[in-house]
């Protein structure tokens, strides 16, 4: 893993404090792609995830990761026989891989959800839709973030 400034400082800080306090816990500041995979598996189980049908509208470059507008829409007729049951959104590098789970009904008319999210780093955002026939469809988008959210100091 490359030595980042954050990692270096947290290690350096740990060494200085080590003289006085014996126990230092370093919690990972980022979710790893493995955590992303686990979070996705928690939702879909062993089912196969296909690419397509889902559209993720998110700016490719954001200045402020504290509020990033995002819209997920799924191509679906939204009838009682064929509708979107739920939409799940994940990230790759926030401290936690989940962003939101949205549960729809056939009476939605249109399978589309918008919200505003936080992104702690330049990373991949994944949206997965579960249809009424229990098939899963996904889409991923890369977002470049210049000011990170979530872990900054509070003033």
């Amino acid at each position: 893993m490359p030595t980042t400034r954050r990692r270096f400082l947290s290690l350096a800080g740990g060494v200085t404090v080590a003289g006085t306090i014996p126990v230092i816990t370093l919690r990972p500041l980022q979710a790893t792609p493995a955590m992303l995979t686990t979070a996705i598996r928690n939702v879909v189980g062993e089912a196969q995830i296909r690419t397509g049908r889902v559209k993720l509208d998110i700016p490719p470059l954001v200045e402020n990761g504290n509020t990033v507008p995002m819209t997920v829409s799924v191509a679906s007729p939204m009838t009682a026989a064929d509708y979107v049951k739920s939409i799940h959104v994940f990230n790759e590098k926030n401290p936690q891989p989940n962003i939101g789970n949205f549960y729809l009904t056939p009476s939605a008319g249109r399978a589309q959800v918008s919200t505003r999210i936080r992104l702690a780093d330049t990373q991949k955002v994944v949206a997965i839709a579960r249809l009424s026939d229990d098939t899963f469809w996904q889409v991923a988008a890369d977002v470049v973030v210049t000011l990170a959210a979530c872990t900054e100091e509070m003033n």
Binding site: T71, N94, R116
Partner: protein, 105 residues
């Protein structure tokens, strides 16, 4: 708590309408530290529900990755006149409700 709800006042039967909600909440992630190194405890809204004349039409699980003052927009088919009820539930016993009426012709 203050919540902004945007639902059309009138709609034709069968129209697909957009519902937009915004509520004020800090959505503290639980991953931030104060300047002296203490962890700021998590305080977020974890769940949102919308009911249309008593029937649930939309539900969301929210995580710390949702921005402060959670905004949600979703759709439904205008079936009958009545009331939309919104409920936000969160950490530390947080609960907030709002409602909006619609006339369907």
């Amino acid at each position: 708590m203050a919540a902004l709800i945007n639902v059309p006042a009138k709609a034709k039967r069968g129209d697909i309408i957009e519902i937009r909600t915004l509520t004020s909440h800090i959505m503290e992630t639980g991953f931030r530290h104060t300047a002296d190194g203490k962890l700021v405890p998590r305080d977020i809204i974890a769940s949102f529900t919308c009911r249309y004349n008593g029937a649930e039409i939309f539900r969301a699980d929210l995580f710390p990755a949702i921005a402060a003052n959670p905004y949600l927009s979703f759709f439904t088919v205008a079936k009958e006149s009545g009331k939309f009820e919104f409920e936000w539930i969160g950490d530390n016993g947080y609960s907030s409700t709002a409602s909006a009426s619609i006339t369907v012709e």
